[in-house]
């Protein structure tokens, strides 16, 4: 009979109950309760994080082998919860101003979070797909949440159609894997493939389709087309969510999938991930140069950053995997900070999200300008900020496995990327001021900015604590 131990699923179950309960509260009290529900969702996420801490982080496979919880899953879930809390915290005032403060918004974010946590813990191609769809479906709705905006509707439709297409490819790949190995369970697939001298052609074919489907989700080139349009069209608070969280979950999913069941097929998938990584870095660096809209610019920036993260997967070692986790953590913190600034950009109540709107804010909003400068320096990888170490560990892992071309190209493209990050700094500090921003920054956003800046500045003093935990989380994938 199956092992009916539900303890490892407790955080997800708690969040699902909380989401349903809060939805009922919202329906009963209408949109005036949005603020309360929003903070209730934040507390639910905090409680889920506490539940995670309280659990044993030993590897446990439960529910008929569909759900796995280990050190890696725990670490990545904490990152996801942290990102969700940040995304909820910075969006409060913005939603009120845009009259988007409907109570479904925080509930959908929590439901998307459950999907991401299920993705991270999936141990079966079926639970992978279920988690992915739960997450994507919530995000499609969020992208189109501002119904009065034509661009938001366009973003929602684009995201939905391309997402559905990628899900179709993923399912086709899954069916091929099932057809040629006879199982959808990670453990069984891994055992079946590791005993073979030559992989069946059908399995390789299926793997290609699954990777194509997942590349859509992490917006790796050549499956990145939707990213700039969706980032620009969606409401800024949703763009912030898109930039901060789902990619952490998707990368975690990709890592578990490639390192556990398809470890035997490493020779095959390395070529694919190698190309995805290389193309993403190049397109991310050169695509962003011509952008004038900040949200589009950070869309290309996220494409490029996914390219760097994929380098660590190409390396295929525990060190590489640890570097990816660390990179995602640092990238998440930087993006959270950047979007905490972009989301508050207004001139006389009109929303502004062009680079030129930042001109000369060093004179009018010096604190914001310096914070933004720190984020930009960190993103372009200038020591001693945390962003530098993220890239350093990735390149180290690549060089250790003799991927010299990839590492060299990574460094070259980050030099190109530094151009547009530093352009923002130049606009802020050396251009004529147009008009000042509105000064009042909500408390939650101040906290996010403060924590992000402190993290990036202080990382150099105690890197071993964070690096060590990331490495031990990654090591649990390689047993």
């Amino acid at each position: 009979m199956i092992d009916f131990n539900l303890i490892p699923v407790l955080p997800e179950m708690f969040l699902a109950m909380a989401a349903m309960g809060l939805l009922v509260v919202g329906v009963a009290h209408g949109n005036s309760s949005t603020n309360v529900i929003s903070w209730a969702c934040v507390s639910a996420l905090v409680i889920a994080a506490c539940l995670l801490f309280g659990m044993s982080w030993e590897r446990q496979v439960v529910l008929n082998g569909m759900f796995v919880f280990d050190n890696f899953a725990g670490y990545m879930k904490l990152l996801v919860i942290l990102g969700l809390i940040t995304a909820l915290a910075i969006s409060g005032r913005y939603l009120e101003i845009l009259r988007m403060n409907r109570f479904e918004y925080p509930v959908l974010i929590v439901l998307a979070g459950i999907g991401m946590m299920l993705m991270i813990s999936s141990n079966n191609l079926l639970s992978l797909y279920m988690g992915l769809e739960l997450q994507s479906l919530s995000l499609y709705v969020l992208a189109a949440f501002n119904r009065n905006s034509l661009r938001a509707a366009e973003a929602g439709i684009k995201y939905f159609i391309l997402g559905a297409l990628s899900s179709g490819m993923l399912l086709f790949g899954t069916s091929l894997i099932y057809g040629y190995t006879g199982s959808i369970d990670y453990g069984v697939i891994g055992a079946t493939l590791s005993g073979l001298t030559a992989l069946p052609f059908g399995v390789i074919f299926g793997l290609v389709f699954i990777l194509a489907g997942l590349a859509f989700k992490v917006s790796a080139v050549p499956f990145h087309m939707w990213t700039p349009d969706v980032y620009q069209g969606a409401p800024t608070s949703v763009t912030a969510l898109f930039a901060i969280v789902p990619k952490v979950a998707a990368i975690a999913l990709l890592m578990r999938l490639l390192f556990e069941p398809f470890a035997a097929a490493q020779g095959q998938w390395v070529q694919i991930v190698y190309f995805l990584s290389l193309a993403s870095m190049v397109v991310g660096a050169f695509g962003a140069i011509a952008q004038t809209n900040l949200k589009r610019l950070f869309a290309y920036s996220s494409i490029g950053n996914m390219g760097y993260a994929l380098i660590g997967i190409v390396a295929g070692t525990p060190e590489g995997a640890g570097a990816v986790i660390l990179y995602m953590l640092i990238y998440m913190v930087m993006t959270a900070g950047v979007f905490a600034i972009i989301i508050g950009m207004r001139h006389d109540g009109i929303r502004a999200n062009h680079i030129s709107d930042l001109s000369g804010i060093s004179a009018t909003n010096p604190v914001l300008a310096y914070a933004m400068a720190i984020f930009m320096f960190s993103m372009s990888g200038i020591p001693p900020l945390a962003g530098f170490f993220g890239k350093l560990f990735i390149f180290q892992a690549a060089v250790a496995e003799q991927y010299y071309i990839l590492a060299t190209l990574g460094i070259l493209t980050s030099v190109v990327a530094a151009f547009y990050y530093l352009k923002i700094v130049k606009v802020m500090f050396f251009d004529e001021s147009v008009e000042p921003f509105e000064k009042d920054i909500p408390f939650a956003r101040r906290v996010v900015l403060f924590v992000a800046v402190v993290f990036l500045l202080a990382f150099i003093f105690r890197p071993e604590a964070i690096v060590g935990s990331a490495q031990s989380a990654a090591a649990s994938l390689f047993i």
Binding site: N64, L111, M130, Y180, F201
Partner: protein, 204 residues
């Protein structure tokens, strides 16, 4: 045996014919009705296979819900299907060519592909442990015990779909007159009724 074979050919024959009629009938309402007939015959085939649960589900879900929904849509939308079909014939040759190319590719590729040797071992029938039960019980065991996780997650996904549909389409319109029972009950004749004496020959 002979009865079974007779039943099979009866169901299969009618199924094929009605499926053909679905795509050739000029009147879309006739198409949907033939679709219903096709579903019923497919259900008959399932019963012959001993899969009575799937047969019932096919009738209840597909005939009872999906086909009736199709019928509603076809009857409510005023679409001239003849207009939609006009000009489609000119694409038939290129469609056939592409289909033929795909088919040869598939045949060539599938011909050389090999399966993992453990495949048949991995494919152990999930219902082997439930021999003797009816297949409704066996399906219930698989769905609610082995795959309870996927089942519950599917429930959550449908929940999100429901929220999404409401969020994206439901608007509160001002100026729409809704019936409010409590308002109706609270009306007092003294507040809203006025009795006037009108002398004959003059207006109100």
């Amino acid at each position: 045996m002979i009865v079974q074979a007779f039943a099979f050919y009866l169901f299969a024959g009618i199924l094929t014919l009605s499926a053909l009629m679905v795509i050739t009938a000029r009147n879309p309402v006739h198409s949907v009705l033939f679709l219903v007939l096709a579903f019923f015959n497919a259900a008959g085939l399932f019963v012959l296979l001993g899969a009575e649960f799937v047969a019932m589900i096919l009738v209840i879900v597909y005939v009872g819900a999906v086909a009736v929904l199709f019928l509603f849509v076809v009857m409510m939308l005023d679409i001239s299907f003849a207009d939609l079909r006009r000009g489609a014939m000119q694409y038939v040759p290129i469609g056939l060519i592409i289909g033929a190319v795909l088919l040869t590719e598939l045949v060539m590729i599938y011909g050389t592909w090999s399966f993992a040797p453990d495949k048949s071992k991995n494919l152990a029938a999930p219902v082997a442990a439930f021999v003797g039960d009816t297949n409704t019980e066996a399906l219930g065991q698989v769905l609610y015990t082995n795959y309870i996780f996927a089942f519950q997650t599917a429930g959550l996904i449908l929940f999100v779909a429901m929220i999404g549909a409401i969020v994206l389409t439901h608007r509160t319109r001002p100026g729409v007159r809704k019936q409010s029972v409590s308002d109706q009950q609270a009306r007092n004749p003294a507040d809203v009724l006025e009795i006037r004496k009108i002398s004959s020959g003059t207006g109100a």
